[in-house]
Amino acid sequence: MEEILTVIVDGIFYSAWLFVAAIGLTLIYGVMKIVNLTHGSFYALGAYAAASLTGAWIARGYPPMLSYAVLLGSAVIVTLVFAPLIERGVLRFMYTKDEVVILLITYALFLILEDVIKLIWGVDPYFIAEPYGLLGSFEIGGLTHPTYNLILVGIAIVAGVGLTLLLRGTRFGKLLRTVIHDPEVSRAMGINVDRFYLVTFTFGSMLAAVGGAFTAPTVSVVPGIGVEIVVLSFAVIVIGGMGSLPGAALGAVIVGLVRSAAIHYAPAVELFVIYFVMALVLAFRPRGLFSLAEPRKI
């Protein structure tokens, strides 16, 4: 019984992390129909920016409790520097191209950003453990968990609920849904589609960076940190259906619980099982668990 509880708690933490990492990807796909491999780069950028800025913040002796704000702030800053640059500088010229070609372009950008990160931050690992230890720990079912893990759960809930409310309830959200539905007609109706693309790309990338920033205190930040997150995020959003927010949440929960169960009961299949679920979903419901029928194009 206790073991099951541990599996569930671990699974929830992992799901929250996955959701934060993947929700931006599904948002960008949903709005722009771009399969965006630079997502992993933004995760890495967020992690590096957070590690270096928060490290500097703590080294200066500023109040450590505010380091959480610094984590968030560094993710925001680094995305505001890079995302508009990429969207305005490269991607916007490519929207007329094939979906698959755009995928290749983001792959090229991913390769470039990998080295940009190395040029800015070098190849040595960064550690910032302080924010992780600061909050102490709490106990569930006889096992202690770091309270820090709850922050990501909080971010996941805020991001998911916030984004849903934004899409459903605000003028911006309604316009965005129009753009999703039909960019050409939206443009004809006088909606500035380019601006929506810019905002979506920046905001989606920012979510990845936030995921990276808040993961930074729990790991050592090393080159290549974003490489794995891309495929994991794809697994998550493919399971739920690309472009769907509840889908991403469901995908994150499934992957999170499956992986945490695998780690506890069958460590040998830990990685395998995630992609196996992804392949299974693709095999039976290729457009994800939350998909509707789609007309075939002639």
Binding site: L103, F110, V231, P267, F272, Y275
Partner: protein, 311 residues
């Protein structure tokens, strides 16, 4: 007639490699053999790309080929390079035949994502399987040909010659295949599937065949790379490896069966030179090259040749 000439070009290049081989330094032979191995994989991607399909998991078959070669040595003590390539080819083709029933139903981004998932499944399995060396991978037995072990200084050359021969035969067969009605369906499938169906051809079968051929080629490439490098590890199935193959195919273009080998050679050269000059920016160099090719030469570097001919 035109593609006959390109085949002659390939034959001449490979023959030149074989003749000049003994004069080449070891590292150049290594580069050339790896280029041939990767060129074979890229040739498989070319077949799929012509039908508008991008596999983001071709590394699956590259890795199957490599591990088939590795298992031959590890479990049966066989180090014959031709047998390795044959086994790699057969194993990859078998797996592809089975998975093909599933994949042939997919198009566009879903084809890419499913193939990605499948290759990551293999990666996940290999990382944890101790019999196959988990993350450390395994070493390949020293290469032999027809049971004869070449002298140390000649091993690399023997592998190069075997690679050239196999690549030439494979390319010849692919070229033949592309001239058959089944092979010529590819651009039609890319343009409009429903019309192809109305004309009485089965799109699904055509894609299945392409998928199996591509896998067989990748299996050979994987086995060749394994025996060239002498070591294999699960990273051969990781998505970045697949990305590399797509890179090569796009860089070279899909208009000629020779182009993938050219692309692989250029990739190897960019990689080696850029890595040598500045180890931290070689990926950036590759990325920029890929961007430039996609934007300015959508048909790949090969179109530089054909364009000049047309003018």
């Amino acid at each position: 007639m035109k593609s006959d000439r390109t085949l002659i070009i390939l034959g001449v290049i490979l023959l030149a490699l074989v003749v000049a081989g003994p004069l080449l330094p070891q590292w150049a032979m290594f580069l050339a053999t790896i280029a041939i191995a990767k060129g074979l994989v890229a040739l498989g991607l070319l077949l799929q790309l012509r039908a508008g399909l991008v596999s983001f998991g071709q590394a699956l078959y590259y890795c199957i080929g490599a591990y088939s070669a590795g298992s031959l040595g590890r479990f049966f003590g066989i180090g014959d390079m031709l047998l390795q390539m044959l086994t790699g080819c057969i194993m990859a083709a078998l797996v592809a035949y089975i998975l093909g029933f599933l994949l042939a139903r997919y198009r566009g981004i879903f084809y890419g994502l499913l193939s990605l998932a499948l290759s990551m499944i293999l990666y996940g399995l290999l990382v944890k399987s101790e019999a196959l060396g988990s993350t450390d991978g395994i070493n390949i037995l020293p290469s032999t040909v027809f049971g004869i072990r070449p002298e140390q200084a000649w091993v690399r050359y023997a592998v190069l010659v075997a690679g050239c021969a196999v690549a030439f035969i494979a390319t010849l067969l692919v070229d033949r295949y592309l001239k058959t009605p089944l092979g010529q369906l590819a651009p039609a499938i890319k343009d409009n599937e429903i019309r192809v169906e109305y004309m009485g051809a089965s799109v699904r079968d055509a894609i299945h065949v392409k998928y199996v051929i591509a896998a067989a080629l990748s299996g050979i490439g994987g086995a060749l790379a394994a025996t060239t490098v002498g070591h294999i590890d699960p990273d051969m199935a990781y998505w970045t490896t697949s990305g590399e193959f797509i890179f090569i195919t796009i860089l070279a273009g899909t208009n000629s069966v020779v182009a993938p080998f050219l692309g692989a050679a250029i990739f190897g050269i960019i990689h080696t030179v850029a890595f040598d000059i500045s180890p931290n920016t070689w990926q950036m160099t590759l990325g920029i090259a890929l961007l430039l090719v996609i934007v300015f030469l959508p048909d790949g570097l090969w179109s530089l040749f054909t364009r000049r001919k047309a003018a």
